[in-house]
């Protein structure tokens, strides 16, 4: 038994109440003997060494009221150790047991390596938490900016409507009235003044037309900027990836509604009709709402873009949500430009795009997100000019 105690890999020292060493094992000699001698001690009294290295610990031990039992239990202690060519702080862990009135048992070990590994792990967890919160902040900021941009876009559209109402029609009517009644006007004001009134009205009308044109152009430019910002936000959202977020129940109808709100400016500008066809009660999808919004925003934007450069009397986007026993299917259908077979083959290729300003990151990323939500995404078209359908099926 003694030879086992001698060999165990932690320090064991038995002392009397004054600290005189009665027994000690190899590990305790290995750890402490150099400290005894570097402090000019003979190595026969442990309390002499503790007084120098850990006086607070010694104080607790020598002044304890405990007659028998654990006096110190797994207390971590920093000790300034002589390492031969300098000093260093070592981290020890101590348990002290009062065996009887005259005997103390010290059990200890050097846990410096463990201490630094714990610190590294703690730092690593902290760094990860900071990164996670950065991503969450970034995601939140993108979302909030997106909402603000939508609001701004809606406001600009409203301004466009209001300025359109203050059209020159009223002035035109007034001019027409004076022209029809010019003889009477000339009779009241005289030829020259009557003519001057008509010229003034004409000037006002022209000036109003020019002003209107400028305003419309400015509004169009603003809407283009808003659309561009929305595209940037969409792309940036795709880079806020790689973070595991908690999967919460997501209301797909709410996701669609929010996505449509963000594209309201484009939908209105292009005079596209939008319809959502979904039952009142829908099963919720467990997932990441932000990622799912990226997907549906992308699909809806593709539908809106399908009308660019297309002149047709009726532009429609229809979104249907169909719940079934084991699936929830969302379809985004447009009657826009559609695409041919060659384009169909490359749709999900990363980097492929048919848009002059796009980056081609959309559908590939969208598919991955949907697959991560236990679903799949397909995009089909009857051919050029025959519209397209994006179908997302979630497997419940």
């Amino acid at each position: 038994m003694l030879s086992i105690i001698y060999q165990i890999p932690m320090g064991l020292i038995e002392t009397d109440r004054e600290g005189n060493i009665q027994q000690m094992n190899a590990r305790s000699v290995q750890l402490l003997m150099p400290q005894f001698f570097s402090h000019g001690l003979t190595g026969t009294n442990f309390h002499q060494l503790l007084q120098l290295l850990a006086p607070d610990l010694l104080e607790k031990i020598t002044h304890t009221a405990i007659a028998s039992g654990i006096v110190i239990n797994q207390q971590r202690q920093e000790l300034l150790f002589d390492e031969g060519e300098g000093t260093s702080i070592r981290h020890f862990i101590f348990t002290v047991n009062r065996l009887d009135a005259n005997s103390l048992m010290y059990i200890f070990d050097d846990i410096t390596e463990l201490y630094f590994k714990e610190k590294q792990l703690s730092q690593s967890l902290q760094d990860k938490a900071v990164e996670q919160s950065k991503f969450e902040i970034a995601s939140g900021v993108l979302h909030d900016i997106g909402n603000a941009v939508v609001g701004f876009g809606a406001y600009i559209t409203k301004i466009k409507r209001i300025t359109g109402q203050h059209e020159t029609g009223t002035l035109e009517k007034l001019k027409d009235f004076f022209e029809k009644n010019q003889p009477a006007l000339a009779g009241s004001l005289g030829e020259k003044k009557a003519s001057a009134v008509l010229d003034l009205l004409n000037g006002l009308i022209i000036s109003q037309y020019d002003y209107q044109k400028e305003i419309n152009q400015a509004i169009t430019d603003q809407l283009k900027i808003i659309s561009h910002v929305q595209e940037i936000l969409t792309i940036q959202r795709q880079y806020v990836v790689g973070q595991q977020t908690e999967r919460l129940p997501v209301n797909i109808r709410s996701v669609i509604n929010d996505s449509v709100a963000m594209l309201f400016g484009s939908i209105d500008k292009n005079q596209i009709g939008f319809q959502l066809d979904a039952p009142a009660v829908l099963p919720k999808i467990k997932g990441d709402r932000t990622r799912l919004m990226q997907v549906f925003l992308n699909l809806l934007k593709n539908a809106v873009d399908a009308f660019k450069g297309v002149e047709q009397p009726s532009k429609e986007i229809l979104v249907t949500i169909v719940p079934e026993e084991t699936t929830l299917t969302v379809r985004v259908q447009d009657n826009g430009s559609g695409f041919d077979e060659a384009t169909a083959a490359n749709l999900f290729t990363r980097g492929y795009t048919t848009k002059t300003e796009g980056t081609g990151l959309g559908l590939d990323n969208c598919r991955k997100i949907i697959e991560a939500h236990n679903g799949n995404l397909t995009v089909t078209s009857g051919g050029t000019g025959q519209g397209a359908v994006s179908t997302v099926i979630f497997y419940l």
Partner: protein, 119 residues
């Protein structure tokens, strides 16, 4: 005539004599190769430590036979190319602390020595 513990010519004597001669010395002798593996273990050392020659030879002195010496004060000193140092130490011969004097020797013949004298 056998050398004494602090004889300045002790190293050449150890290197030129057979290991059986170590048993006649009044102090303990451990002979190791440069990796610390014991190649000779004197009778006096065996008495001090309570470990037989057969159980010591072939084992690593610092990690298996006397782990209490595995620190910068003893084991690390053998990293020097040559060595002749003496100092007081505490051995625990199966938990009983025993003050000793150690002498560490190392020459250029590929062996190193640890000598132990009880004080």
């Amino acid at each position: 005539m056998n050398p004494v513990f602090n004889d300045p010519e002790l190293l050449p004597w150890l290197e030129s004599n057979q290991e059986e001669a170590y048993d006649s010395l009044p102090f303990g002798v451990v002979k190791m190769n440069l990796e610390g593996t014991i190649t000779a273990y004197s009778a006096a050392q065996s008495d001090f430590a309570g470990i037989s020659k057969e159980n010591a030879i072939g084992k690593n002195f610092f990690t298996q036979v006397a782990p209490c010496t595995n620190n910068f004060m003893v084991a690390e000193k053998y990293k020097k190319d040559s060595l002749d140092e003496s100092f007081p130490y505490m051995f625990t011969y199966v938990t009983k602390p025993t003050p000793v004097e150690l002498r560490l020797l190392k020459g250029d013949k590929g062996f190193q020595y640890l000598l132990t004298k009880k004080v």
